[in-house]
């Protein structure tokens, strides 16, 4: 079975890893990829890392992107425009709480539209 993928974009690689750990305690199957920090692993975000994470997280059911502050959203938008994959959405929700809800919903086998509407119901 394949699922809607999740990408965690944070200024800090540790933050992204930590959030993934929290979700993985509960949800094992859903693809979760992280894009934390710059290419040099400094504080910041990287379009290249985000693109790579999107490619890895996508197994054909689309990808939801979660981000933290500042440049994270803009870089997510640029990466999204560059990938050429249709089924991607940037989600306006707190990084941890949003990704957690998305992982649970995706783990139930819901499609991207249904996971999205569950998120909007919770955070919209």
């Amino acid at each position: 079975m394949s699922y809607v993928g999740i990408v965690l974009i944070s200024h800090s690689n540790k933050v992204a890893e930590g959030i993934k750990d929290i979700i993985r305690q509960v949800i094992k199957e859903v693809p979760i990829e992280i894009a934390g920090g710059t290419d040099e692993n400094d504080i910041g975000t990287s379009i290249d890392k985000i693109q790579l994470a999107i490619d890895r997280a996508n197994d054909g059911n689309g990808v939801l992107l979660f981000y933290d502050i500042g440049s994270a959203k803009m870089n997510a938008e640029v990466a999204l425009e560059m990938t050429g994959i249709d089924n991607i959405k940037i989600i306006e929700a707190p990084l941890l709480e949003g990704a957690y809800v998305a992982a649970v919903e995706s783990g139930m086998g819901k499609d991207i539209e249904n996971v999205y509407s569950a998120l909007m119901k919770e955070f919209g």
């Binding site: 290419d39 910041g44 990287s46 290249d48 500042g70 440049s71 870089n75 640029v78």
Partner: protein, 207 residues
């Protein structure tokens, strides 16, 4: 007077030099109202730009500006990467098909750059961002009918200094609300160096 590939390369190298010389200053502007990494980020980005364009042989200015844009987007790290990257990308799109960048097409290039940055950053004039330098510069270029090297840097400097009195409502500085008043916006300062470098390149071409 127009800019061709050689002059555009020179423009980028001068921007790189200015940002390196003023790296500490730019960072000091970013410390009270931001995350204090503007100078470091921009210096890293423009060093990569300088390395990249030195290795390549460009046939036209559009190709050069596109490489500048892509390098800034992937190497800067902060919000300045996608913002300045978008500015140069839009300029590259307008420059496509022109061998020489003259006063008319640079005006259109800058106008598209501002539109792109506004869209990317979801910001407008008066929010204490780089737009507050770029947008007045578009207006300036529209007012005059040819390059006046002596004026460009001064106009940009004035616009940069005006950001001091603005309260930030976009970017990291917006978290500081009224405390952001009294500080020059770092992105505006970097933008000033870009226009100052442009005016120097134009001046050198007039001789």
């Amino acid at each position: 007077m127009g800019l061709q590939v050689t002059e555009a390369v020179e423009w980028m190298k001068r921007i790189n030099e200015k940002i390196h010389i003023n790296k500490e200053y730019l960072t000091s502007l970013d410390q009270p109202i931001g995350d204090g990494d503007h100078g470091i980020n921009m210096a890293r980005g423009f060093q990569e730009v300088s390395n990249k364009i030195t290795m390549e042989n460009y046939e036209n200015v559009a190709e050069l500006l596109k490489d500048v844009a892509m390098t800034l987007m992937s190497k800067v790290g902060g919000a300045s990467g996608p913002l300045f990257g978008t500015a140069f990308l839009k300029m590259s799109l307008v420059a496509k098909g022109s061998d020489t960048i003259n006063h008319d097409n640079i005006t259109r290039m800058l106008e598209e750059a501002v539109n792109g940055v506004k869209q990317r950053g979801k910001a407008v004039e008066g929010e204490k961002t780089l737009i507050d330098v770029w947008s007045p510069m578009v207006e300036y270029f529209k007012r005059v009918d040819r390059f006046k090297a002596g004026e460009i840097a001064g106009e940009a400097k004035k616009a940069m200094e005006n950001t001091k009195d603005i309260m930030a409502t976009k970017g990291r500085a917006a978290y500081f609300k009224e405390k952001s008043i009294g500080h020059i916006d770092p992105g505006a300062a970097t933008s000033f160096y870009m226009f100052e470098a442009l005016s120097e390149v134009i001046k050198a071409g007039e001789k």
